[in-house]
Symmetry: C2
Subunit: 207 residues, 2 copies
């Protein structure tokens, strides 16, 4: 599958590497490809502008920071595309703990869907960090990942990708507005990261 | 230990029964004890008014609905008391899914603490339903429970009670404002309850 990963932060880089490793044709979209390529922390891989990256892609992944997602995606033609949104609307401008720029009665995923009614937005993977997203087996036992979206075929495509990445316990919400709960998990996630001293953790849903 | 459980809903009733079962002297506080005693769903046990219930209690548990917690607790003398807050600020007035009356930069637990600076508020058990609160072994494997509070001795007292109830994986946040994350877990919890068709579930923190 041809996949465009939008965003070059730790989540974007982990996703690009992880998706390439399982055989996908991945290009990363960034504002300025030359500047990204010159960064010390850039781990390599094909780069293109936001607009170019998505051309011909079967799947576009939003891995930009939540605060800049709408601006970055405004440059991308998402007509008919499945958009996997892994971003979180965290605002660190007032220090730790971060707050959420959108919550409760709305979510970043829904904001993106409203800005791009021609796309089919699916929220997933935002509940874990980049390393766990693409390698759930790094944790000592299987954990749970969530999928939320209004479009059944788009959710199915994302679910298939999750299985390829090694996820086995996948809980699906057939409505994009369930992204509210998935994004509101982050304040607890951030506290846990701070208390545990690691981002290598996830929840397992026991039922 | 003498424990006052404030609130007669399903969480309050489960807590009163569960705490009595492990040997505590429990009285339930309610607005109108006679009216509560006459209710079809009242499972028995000592009743008193909000104000009377807390007299002589070593621990007061807020198990009222989040929307009425501040009003109910206003009738209780919490001077020097440890207050275990298990409530959630859920607002169902606009139907399902509920929204939160307080979130992100504040929490119900912190509102209660500000209203009762003479009390030592600890947030715990709000992340599971009443049946699981007092009987974590009803789930197929051990799961995780959280404790958040500013007062170390108060947190220790609550932790001891959790161990008595059967909780083994207890993650403690040494700050009451971590209650924000614990309360913001609820939107995901509510969706899960709806999707799974049961409230008999919890998260296990895998790290």
């Amino acid at each position: 599958m041809r996949i465009a990963v939008i965003g070059t932060g730790s989540a974007g880089q982990a996703l690009a590497s992880g998706l390439r490793r399982i055989g996908h044709d991945v290009v990363t979209g960034t504002r300025d490809p030359q500047a990204t390529a010159a960064r010390d922390d850039w781990n390599g891989g094909a780069l293109a502008t936001y607009a170019e990256a998505a051309v011909g892609a079967d799947l576009v992944v939003n891995a930009t920071g939540g605060g800049v997602s709408l601006a970055a995606l405004a440059e991308v033609d998402l007509e008919g595309k499945v958009l996997l949104d892994v971003a979180n609307p965290l605002d660190f401008s007032n220090g730790f703990p971060p707050t959420l720029t959108v919550k409760d009665t709305d979510s970043l995923a829904e904001q993106i869907q409203r800005a791009h009614p021609e796309a089919r937005v699916v929220k997933s993977l935002n509940t874990v960090n980049g390393a766990v997203m693409v390698d759930p087996a790094r944790l000592p036992e299987p954990t749970t990942i969530f999928v939320a979206g209004d479009d059944e075929a788009a959710c199915r495509l994302v679910r298939g990708l999750l299985v390829e990445l090694g996820w086995s316990d996948i809980v699906e919400f057939p409505a994009l507005d369930a992204a509210r709960g998935l994004e509101m998990w982050l304040p607890l996630w951030v506290r846990l990261m701070s208390t545990l001293g690691t981002a290598d953790f996830n929840l397992k849903l026991v039922r």
